[in-house]
Amino acid sequence: MKLEIGNFFVKDIVFGDRTFYERGVLTVNKKEALDVVFEDSHITEAELYIVRPGDEVRLVPVKEAYEMRCKVSGGQSVYPGCTAPVAPVGSGRTHALKGCSLLVVGKHWGSFQDGLIDMSGPAQRNTIFGSMPNLVLVGDTDEEFERHEQQKKNRALRWAGMRLSEYVGKCVKDLEPEEIETWELEPVNERASDVRNLPSVVYVPQIQTQMEALGYNALVYGWDGNRMLPTYLHPNEILDGAIISGSFMPCSSKISTYEWVNNPMIKRLMREHGRTINFLGVVLSNLNVVMEEKARSAMMVANIAKALGADGAIVAEEGYGNPDVDYILTIVELEKAGIKTVGMTNECTGRDGTSQPLVALDERANALVSTGNVSELYELPPMKTVLGELESLARDGLSGGWEGCVREDGSVIMENNAFFCSDHISGFSLKTCAEF
């Protein structure tokens, strides 16, 4: 399966009469763009903004981040099963506006899974989005049933974001890319003998699926991840839109949809394929909340990996707390099957740093990468502009905020937990954890 991603490197975004891209500048026609948003009558209010690195802007509650892109060939949509019918992705050509994102922010109401992004100041570096220009959709909906709920499906806004990101992405559909990334991985059984002699590796992402009601969890081709068993995916499928992020995870642990199609772990494994490893592909797993389901998923991951002949595995847990059980169980099952495993996730050490960092432990989980600590406290200065509503951090049950954490002057104290995707379990994290 071969996928070409044609990249257009966006240095700046501006509003203008047409939506087009030229020499590093993405111009967006605001009215046309908002028309796409308002296609869903559940959207009651919407406005578009542009934020750039260095702007004194704080965004909260951020619900999702998308890369603006479109299918050129090999499919109709980069959101199969969601905004378009179910269809395979991962081959043909996709064009992407690179180095920028579309952020979806609630006008007022936040939820447990929403987060904060600062475009400047001490917390700019806490998320990758602080270092890129972003088109920002700020909206409100008529989803009364969840208006005051801590868990929100955020459906209208998230789907609006998907539609909008594809609308803008289409402006480069017929252009010649500045760079083409080629992602190719031959069928497992058709690899040259010199490739087969390299140590073979699987990537095992465990996507967020802790809600038992539908509408919150990460989706695979539009299917709820809680209702799936571990399965095999070609890495191209993920790079081309097969996984949509869910709306449940405490925010710093979340892997945004943007990060799935830019997944640096997959890209590194693909680049190393044929050189240092034989990348067998992705064994996709989940993080359900019933012990038997955790055990079943861990077992099946190990079975699939073993049947593929994996020598090594990298397990990434999109979460903390009870999902740590899935994480450790899966690592242990892989190790028991003789597959050398590295784990990658964040920790939760409590505010004083002394709590056990993972809820479950096992000596066999002896190779772990730590991408951050949800409990880390941060003091943020006030920001000139807030897109969204600052008080949502304190009022709406965001994972790292609490009543009173937002001061009158706009300064904030919060846990890392509430930074948008800041632990970058996708692999982007430039943080680790250390003992003091």
């Binding site: 050398k340 590295v342 000596e363 692999g427 430039l430 680790t432 954890c433 250390a434």
Partner: protein, 352 residues
């Protein structure tokens, strides 16, 4: 210039050796002994006072010793508290840890000490204070002092403190997230770190996990003794059975000492020649018949019957109540060493 108080024991305080171990705490002006080296090494901190206290006084009367020392410090103005270095000296290390912990709790100042990794006080106190990794013996004085001094200076200057492994002290069990660039390290993303770790693991090369999982207590299984008659057996107990005058003054609680007592001429332990000093259980039965805790009589019977061969001339004892894991481990190591020296091949240990 910050002010510091320095704690040392009777030996380093130039009072005397083991015979002066019961030396009661005193406060002196200025640095003493290793304090002079420490003082010279520090650029931003100076030692205004020194506390000298006998290791035994602290070990036997910790509450009293601490109370007196805290009182001495009450009138003083100081910003940092330093102790040791204590190298591998168990009692001295525990003393440093004890006083540092108390000072930190009462005065809220940073406390810094130094010990060798095998000092049992490390396990006991590392979560409460900065214990710098030190050498085993006083020959390492200069290096250990320099490390303490450099860190004291860092604190004085308000420098950003790095993780324990980079600063050189025993990790205190406090984990924080850090940006790699803040550690002066190349900001490598997690994906690259994970890949490189996996490659090393696959190749069998050493790598360092970013989240060490604490080890579970497991002891390798000793092979079975083929024939007990050919092996010397020793009796050991944590039940505190000692000769009637407790000649080594083993403590009844929180023991830090163990004893070895001659039973070569005995067929059984007789009261009142032997008794228990263990404060953690009702002593009535043990004092009536010490064999219920240390079964010498049964062992001798088996010896007579030819079931077993030689029995060590001595039995070995300490008290297992309140005794810290670290102290017990140290004593265990020391007893094991003695057993090895005496060619013992099997042990029956009774615990209460």
């Amino acid at each position: 210039m910050l002010k510091a108080v320095h704690y040392i024991n009777q030996f380093f305080g130039q009072v005397g050796g083991e015979e002066s171990a019961d030396f009661e705490p005193v406060l002196q002006e200025g640095p003493v002994g290793p304090g002079l080296l420490l003082n010279e090494a520090m650029k931003e901190v100076k030692i205004t006072h020194t506390v000298i206290c006998g290791d035994n006084f602290m070990a036997s009367h910790p509450e009293e010793a601490v109370a007196r020392i805290l009182k001495m410090l009450e009138g003083l103005k100081f910003d940092v508290f330093l102790a040791g270095p204590a190298f591998n000296a168990g009692r001295y290390g525990v003393a440093c840890g004890t006083i540092c912990k108390a000072v930190k709790e009462k005065f809220g100042v940073p406390v810094i000490t130094s010990m060798n990794e095998e000092n049992p006080a490390v396990e006991m106190f590392k979560s409460n204070m900065y214990i710098f990794k030190g050498g085993r013996r006083a020959t390492y004085m200069k290096q250990d002092v320099e490390k303490m001094a450099a860190f004291a200076d860092k604190i004085a200057r308000g420098d950003k403190l790095l993780p324990a492994s980079m600063e050189g002290y025993f990790p205190r069990g406090i984990r924080h997230e850090v940006f790699l660039e803040d550690l002066g390290l190349e900001p490598k993303c997690a994906a690259d770190r994970a890949f490189e770790m996996l490659l090393k693991k696959l190749k069998g090369e050493p790598y360092e996990t970013e989240l060490p999982i604490p080890k579970q207590e497991r002891v390798p299984i000793a092979p079975a003794v083929k024939d007990l008659r050919k092996v010397k057996i020793a009796l050991v107990t944590s039940g505190g059975i000692v000769p009637k005058d407790n000649p080594d003054r083993i403590q009844s609680c929180s023991a830090t000492k163990w004893g070895a007592y001659d039973i070569s001429k005995l067929d059984r332990l007789m009261a009142p020649d032997f008794k228990t000093i263990h404060a953690g259980y009702d002593p009535e039965q043990a004092n009536k018949n010490p064999n219920v805790v240390l079964p010498l009589d049964a062992i001798r019977q088996y010896q007579k019957e030819g079931r077993i061969g030689e029995v060590d001339d001595h039995y070995y004892v300490t008290v297992g109540t309140g005794t810290t894991q670290a102290e017990a481990a140290r004593m265990g190591r020391e007893i094991a060493q003695r057993l090895k020296e005496r060619n013992v091949g099997a042990v029956v240990l009774t615990a209460t």
